[in-house]
Symmetry: C2
Subunit: 404 residues, 2 copies
Amino acid sequence: MAAFTAHTSAATTSHHHSPAGTAAILLQSRRRVYSPSRVSCSSAAADKSKTVVIGLAADSGCGKSTFVRRLAGVLGGGGGAASPARGNGNFPGSNTLVVGDAATVVCLDDYHSLDRAGRKARGLTALDPRANDFDLMYEQVRALKEGRAVDKPVYNHVTGRLDPPERVAPPKILVIEGLHPMYDERVRDLLDFSIYLDISDEVKFAWKIQRDMAERGHSLESIKASIDARKPDFEAYVDPQKQYADAVIEVLPTQLIPDEEEGKVLRVRLIMKEGVRHFAPVYLFDEGSTITWIPCGRKLSCSYPGIKFAYGFGAYYGHEVSVLEMDGQFDKLDELIYVETHLSNMSSRFYGEVTQQMLTHAGFPGSSNGTGLFQTILGLKIRDLYEQIVAERAAAVTADAINV
Amino acid sequence: MAAFTAHTSAATTSHHHSPAGTAAILLQSRRRVYSPSRVSCSSAAADKSKTVVIGLAADSGCGKSTFVRRLAGVLGGGGGAASPARGNGNFPGSNTLVVGDAATVVCLDDYHSLDRAGRKARGLTALDPRANDFDLMYEQVRALKEGRAVDKPVYNHVTGRLDPPERVAPPKILVIEGLHPMYDERVRDLLDFSIYLDISDEVKFAWKIQRDMAERGHSLESIKASIDARKPDFEAYVDPQKQYADAVIEVLPTQLIPDEEEGKVLRVRLIMKEGVRHFAPVYLFDEGSTITWIPCGRKLSCSYPGIKFAYGFGAYYGHEVSVLEMDGQFDKLDELIYVETHLSNMSSRFYGEVTQQMLTHAGFPGSSNGTGLFQTILGLKIRDLYEQIVAERAAAVTADAINV
């Protein structure tokens, strides 16, 4: 394994990052509540995790950016922060999204160690770990988590090359999104919560057709070839990360309409690991039981094919999980609020918050189905997780102050 | 149709009852709250229904007597009243059960107009309307409902003949149970609530084998022959009554075990008509939706094959109904109380009342499955219906007194 030395990209725009010690890793915004000398052993551990780190993994074109925009909506508290505009004004080519003072979303493409030409020369895809610098990723995520700013490389998606690095300050919540947030064990261990967006082949294909054929004029053959070319590396390096995820959003074709293959009506499953600190899985009616629920009926009318929920539990890669599933789509506001009312452990701050979030961002893809619903719920869960960690630290500080 | 004249059996033990006017229909326990002269038109209507009348229909050997014992347990308030001993001490051969001062259960076999020999002579089964005196049934149920005692015939199940009649005073709740409580339109119109126990052929056959072969030494062939012989009349005269029932308990083979044919594990459905006065159908989690629920899981462990509930709605003989279904059986107390906790509109007076009732009568057939559960629930529903009617009358009397 690579050495645990600190890497930065402060002095270089190349894909190679030399170890530079702590000089370029700026210390910034250290705790103000109490001085380091008063930190006891127990609270020192909590203190180290100043920034809460969230990993969001998925293949490209699988909804990471929509998820990030929904998360920004929840954390930013308003519609403005959910804009897809990049937050670092000084770096027009930046892939980083700054959500007010609440969160910073770093795109892991910035840790490509090989640029487009380099990958081509070596015959590697961007999914191959050899095209990515996990040492640097680890060092910089760790630095941010410990409260130190970093000079993060910037991968330019237009040129396919690395631009000059940008300064990233430690945020309250750091989201690292991309192909490999849980690939490297060291990075994985830094994550307070991890999410994997798992789009089934059928849906992925339908989405690619929609985007690349309809919007970009690609041929069906070229789309198929592109998917097939990515598949071996995807299955070797990206897909296995879902076993580490605390929550997986699985997107499948609907079961409500026989032979529906357009990927328009979706069956979406939210797989939630049990026993994760600060994360209480959402449930339907009776926690720990097995339920199906068609809310459409006497009280709620739905258009064809309706909405069907399922809730249950099981094992996922050897972990105990709860699973909430939504098949079908909302076509009216009252369906959405009705469903929200009957879900528990939502971590919402007020009645109808999920519905409000979904309405605010009604134009985002998936707003009428389980992808939008579950992304929004995970947004609330991340906010809740952050608040629990902060509260825990505050309690530890108080206890420490009493014990001095 | 037969004339609407009053019949009694006061002076005869034969199967023929002559019209005898009002002489033998004793006036008894008339209202004491206010005098007849102060009864207004509106409250006179309510006043007429002094006795609440419940119809309970089923084939013989289908659990009517167990149901009655469970109902007695609910209405009598204790275990003693649920004893199967007949209540009319003066008539040792009586088929009538008196539950304290709360209810009287009349067996409609007492209205057989042909005794066993008479049926044999005319080639009729007891299921044939021609073997039953619906004129007398109607007159006596009406008399009881209006507050007048009757001298009801008594059919002796041992001799197959009619014994001397017995005096029946108007109870708070009159339950008429037997083959034909909803057959005659006039009798049907007197019912405040009606129940049909619908045992599927497979289960009926399994039960008959268990009882008649194991306990009475009958042969399999004779059991089959007996069922086949009853079937035409059953289908012509008994089964069609279920279309009029406010609640049907349907007993089917389990779907949890493939090819289970012993009738030991049952799938039981409680079909509840919508829009019935004083009767709010029970529901699971979300009224008016469609749900399946396997309570066995993380919180509740069950032995094989577990328990599965279903709740939904639909049409039953053209009526809108809600349906609650239980497949499987309870084998532990905590399963029962867990299930009770998650059902709504149960009409119980205190937390756990259904469980308490089922435990008190744990020795009754069906105590571990949906038949016992739904019989108990309908017992609570009947008590609730009675109390609502009484409260409504009291309110009408008060309103009347104010308006005088």
